[in-house]
C-alpha cells in the first residue's frame, strides 16, 4: 500500500500546509512517510513543489520516480501541468482552476483549461470561489485537499484528524473553517465522480 503525491503551487500558496495535514494523518496511523520541500529562492513567488510519499513499508527515495506519482494536487492550474511528467498513467490530477498570475507572460487561461481537459483523470475545481463563498478565502488550499480526499481513502487516512493536529493551536474557529473547506472540496469530487460513474 502506497500513495505518491506531488504537491504543486506558487511560493506562499500553502502547499506545505497540505503536506503537513496529510503527513500528520499518515503518522497517526503508523504509516511511513517522506516529504521533500523546496526552500530558498523559489519561495519568492516562484514555482514550488513537494514530493509526499506515504507507505506501509519503508520508503527509500525522498523523490518520487518520474511517471510514478499517484496524485498531483495543485493549488494553481499551470503548476499542475508543469509536473505532468511525474504522473503515472492511471494517476489523478486534482487542481485549482484559479490562476496565479505573477509573471509577464502568463499563458492564456483557456489554453490551460483545454490542456487540463485532455488529461484522462482530472478534477478541476474553483477552490478560490468555494473558499470565498464559505467566507474564508485563506482556506482554498484545504478545498483542494478536500477534492483530493476521495483518492486518499485507499490509504485510510483520517484527514480531518490531520487538520485538528495541524491547526489545533490556532483555535476552534480556524479548525472549523478549514474543516468546512475540506468538506466542500470532498463533496465536489464525490458528486463529480458519481455523475460520471467513475470508480477509483
Amino acid at each position: 500500500m502506497k500513495e505518491d503525491i506531488i504537491l504543486a503551487g506558487v511560493g506562499g500558496q500553502g502547499i506545505l500546509s497540505i503536506a503537513a495535514v496529510i503527513g500528520s494523518a499518515a503518522l497517526e496511523i503508523g504509516m511511513y512517510m517522506k516529504q521533500s520541500e523546496v526552500h530558498g529562492m523559489s519561495q519568492r513567488g516562484g514555482d514550488v513543489m513537494s514530493n509526499l510519499r506515504i507507505a506501509d513499508h519503508e520508503i527509500f527515495s525522498d523523490l518520487i520516480p518520474c511517471g510514478k506519482a499517484d496524485l498531483i494536487i495543485s493549488v494553481e492550474p499551470m503548476e499542475a501541468l508543469r509536473h505532468l511528467p511525474m504522473l503515472s498513467h492511471d494517476g489523478w490530477l486534482i487542481t485549482n482552476s484559479t490562476p496565479f498570475k505573477n509573471t509577464l507572460d502568463y499563458p492564456d487561461v483557456d489554453k490551460i483549461m483545454a490542456t487540463l481537459e485532455k488529461i484522462p483523470n482530472h478534477i478541476v475545481i474553483d477552490a478560490d470561489k468555494i473558499a470565498k463563498d464559505l467566507g474564508s478565502t485563506m482556506s482554498a488550499n484545504m478545498v483542494i485537499l478536500g477534492a483530493a480526499c476521495p483518492f486518499l481513502d485507499n490509504v485510510c487516512l483520517d484527514i480531518e484528524n490531520g487538520i485538528r493536529n495541524i491547526f489545533g493551536r490556532k483555535g476552534e474557529k480556524v479548525i472549523k473553517s478549514n474543516m468546512d473547506a475540506l468538506k466542500a472540496g470532498r463533496e465536489y469530487t464525490t458528486a463529480l465522480l458519481k455523475k460520471q460513474t467513475i470508480k477509483i
Binding site: 516529504q35 529562492m41 519568492r44 516562484g46 525522498d62 518520474c66 509577464l104 499563458p107 490542456t115
Partner: protein, 532 residues
C-alpha cells in the same frame, strides 16, 4: 517508539542538542539554514543554555566554533557549500591545530543549484583538509551521526565534517531520539602550543594529522555507516554515496537486488570493502550525489584499471542531482514512458514581493542611469538579485557575496564611469566592508548602494548585523559624510530618490547611498504578531 517528523537539517540539530553540544554558529544559506533555526527556536536548547548564534559570515562562524572547541566544549558550525569557500582558511588550518572539544563542520551542498551559484562538492574540502567526512543517507542517520561525529572528533582531536545535499536537508521523515548526553565543562587543551601555527609547531601538528590518516581509514572500515551488502551476481558491483543509496534501493522494491553493493557514508573510503568489490566484480557502477569524487579516485589518472561506470563516462550525466529515474536508466532498468510538460506552461521565476523596498530602489536607480549606456551595475547575492530579471534588468553581476563593491572598484580602476555597486545590508556586513575600505583607501570612483531592508531576507529573515548602525560603519571606514546619503525607498519619494542617486553618480569619488526600509515580509510578520 515515538517518531518525530524532521527535516534532515532538523535531525542534525536535534542530534546536536542531544549530544551535549554547547554552541552552534552559522551564517544562513540554503539548504543549511534550518539547522541553526531549529536550535534557535528549540525550548530544550534554551533550557540547556545552548547558544545558537548567527555570525557575520562563515569565516567568523568557523573561528568562533574553533574557540568554543579550544575551551573544551562541543560545537557545530553550519553553512552552505559556497560558505565553506569563505571559511576555507580557518577550516583548513583547524585540521592542523586540531580540535579540543568536539567540533563538527556541516556543509550543505546544492547539486542542481536550486538556490546557489554553483554545485561544488564539499567532500573535496574534507579530503583537502584530510579529516573524516560523514555523509548521511537518511534523516535517522543525520540524527545518529552527530553523536558519533562528536565522539570521533574528540577521539582524534580533529574537526569532523558532515556533508549533506539539498534533498537530505529539506526532506522530512520519522526520526527516533536517543538518550541525551551532558555538555562538556571548560577544559583547556593539554598542550598549550597546539593552536599556535608558527612554522615550527605547524610542522609538528601537520605530522600528527598525517599520522592519523591510517586511523581514519580504519575508522571508516569499522564505521556503522559504511555497509557492504554481498550479492550473487558479480557482473556488476555498485558503490553508492550518501542519498544515492536511496535512489538505488528505490529501483529494487519489487525485484531482488543481486549485485553486491557498497554503501559509503564515511570517508576516507573504506579500503577493504572497496578492494573486495573491485576484486570480485567485473564492472563497477558508482552512484554519487555531486562531483565524481569516488569515481575519479578509483579510475586513477590513467584510467587503465577495471571497468568503471559513472558520471565521467556518460553512464550518468555529469551535472545535476541524481534521482531514482536517472539511476534506473544507468542500470538499464526500464522506466515508464512519461508525458512531456505541455507547451502552454511558461517559466515562473522568483519575483520581488509586492511592496518590497528593493522595487522602489531599482525604479529610482533605473531612472538615474537612464542617460548612460547599459552594463554599469555590479551587484551581489540576496533578494535584490532578482533585479537582474524583467521588468527591472537593473544589475549586471552576481558572483559571490561582497563582489559587487570590489568588482565596481576594478571596473572604475579600468576607467568605467559611473561604476555602481548594489549590495544588500546583510551582504555588506558579510563581505562588503573590506572592499569599501579598499575603495576609500584608493579614492576609487564608485557609487555604492546598500539596500538596507533591516534583515537577511532571502534566507528567511535572520538578523542583519549592521542594522541600526550602517551609517556609522560606512563613516568609520572613511567615506566622507556628505557622500553618505540615506533615503526611504517608497513610490511617493521617487523623484527625490533618483535625484540623490544622480547627484552621487556625478561625484568622482566614493559615495554610499543607503535606501532604508524594512523588508515587507518582516513588516507583515510583525503586524500579524501584533494583532494576533
Amino acid at each position: 517508539m515515538q517518531k518525530l517528523m524532521l527535516l534532515g537539517d532538523e535531525a542534525i540539530a536535534l542530534g546536536a542538542i542531544d549530544s551535549g553540544m554547547s554552541a552552534i554558529y552559522a551564517y544562513p544559506g540554503t539548504p543549511s539554514t534550518e539547522i541553526t533555526e531549529y536550535v534557535a527556536h528549540s525550548r530544550e536548547a534554551k533550557e540547556k543554555n545552548i547558544l545558537a548564534s548567527w555570525s557575520t559570515n562563515e569565516k567568523t562562524a568557523m573561528e568562533a566554533a574553533l574557540g568554543m572547541s579550544y575551551a573544551g566544549k562541543r560545537t557545530m558550525v553550519c553553512m552552505k557549500h559556497v560558505g565553506l569557500n569563505v571559511a576555507a582558511d580557518p577550516f583548513i588550518n583547524a585540521s592542523i591545530t586540531g580540535a579540543n572539544g568536539g567540533m563538527i563542520v556541516v556543509a550543505a551542498d546544492d547539486p542542481s543549484m536550486h538556490s546557489s551559484q554553483n554545485e561544488q562538492d564539499s567532500r573535496f574540502y574534507g579530503k583537502f583538509a584530510m579529516i573524516p567526512v560523514l555523509e548521511p543517507t537518511n534523516q535517522q542517520e543525520c540524527y545518529d551521526m552527530v553523536s558519533y561525529a562528536f565522539d570521533l572528533s574528540e577521539k582524534y582531536s580533529i574537526p569532523v565534517m558532515m556533508r549533506i545535499t539539498t534533498r537530505m536537508a529539506h526532506s522530512r521523515a520519522g526520526v527516533v531520539r536517543k538518550p541525551a548526553r551532558e555538555q562538556n565543562s571548560i577544559k583547556l587543551p593539554v598542550n598549550l602550543i597546539q593552536y599556535v601555527l608558527l612554522p615550527g609547531n605547524a610542522r609538528k601538528q601537520y605530522k600528527k594529522l598525517l599520522g592519523n590518516q591510517q586511523s581514519f581509514f580504519d575508522e571508516s572500515a569499522a564505521s556503522p555507516f559504511n555497509k557492504y551488502f554481498d550479492g550473487t551476481d558479480k557482473s556488476l558491483g555498485i558503490i553508492t554515496s550518501g542519498i544515492a543509496y536511496n535512489y538505488l534501493m528505490e529501483n529494487f522494491q519489487d525485484n531482488k537486488l543481486n549485485f553486491p553493493v557498497l554503501k559509503i557514508s564515511q570517508y576516507p573510503m573504506p579500503r577493504p570493502f572497496v578492494e573486495k568489490l573491485i576484486s570480485e566484480c567485473k564492472e563497477i557502477l558508482v552512484l554519487e550525489e555531486g562531483y565524481p569524487m569516488i569515481e575519479e579516485s578509483l579510475r586513477g589518472f590513467l584510467n587503465n584499471g577495471i571497468r568503471i561506470k559513472g558520471r565521467m563516462d556518460g553512464t550518468l550525466v555529469f551535472e545535476g542531482e541524481l534521482n531514482p529515474t536517472k539511476v534506473a536508466a544507468a542500470l538499464g532498468i526500464p522506466v515508464p514512458q512519461i508525458a512531456n510538460i505541455p507547451e502552454v506552461v511558461t517559466n515562473r521565476p522568483p519575483a520581488l514581493c509586492s511592496g518590497c523596498p528593493h522595487i522602489d530602489s531599482y525604479l529610482a536607480l533605473n531612472q538615474a542611469l537612464d542617460k548612460y549606456a547599459k552594463g554599469l551595475v555590479f551587484s551581489d547575492i540576496g533578494c535584490y538579485t532578482i533585479g537582474a530579471l524583467k521588468p527591472f534588468e537593473s544589475i549586471n553581476s552576481c558572483v559571490d557575496m561582497g563582489a559587487s563593491i570590489t568588482m565596481a572598484k576594478g571596473a572604475a580602476d579600468a576607467g568605467l564611469s559611473p561604476a555602481v555597486a548594489v549590495i544588500g545590508d546583510g551582504t555588506f556586513t558579510h563581505s562588503g566592508m573590506t572592499g569599501l575600505l579598499d575603495c576609500v583607501k584608493h579614492k576609487s570612483n564608485v557609487t555604492v548602494i546598500i539596500l538596507d531592508n533591516k534583515t537577511t531576507a532571502m534566507t528567511g529573515g535572520q538578523p542583519s548585523h549592521g542594522d541600526g548602525h550602517l551609517f556609522d560603519i560606512v563613516k568609520g571606514l572613511g567615506v566622507e559624510e556628505e557622500h553618505i546619503r540615506i533615503f526611504k525607498p517608497i513610490r511617493k519619494n521617487h523623484d527625490e530618490n533618483y535625484r540623490i542617486i544622480e547627484e552621487e553618480l556625478n561625484y568622482k569619488g566614493v559615495s554610499v547611498i543607503i535606501p532604508t526600509r524594512e523588508c515587507i515580509v518582516e513588516t507583515n510578520k510583525r503586524m500579524r504578531e501584533k494583532f494576533k
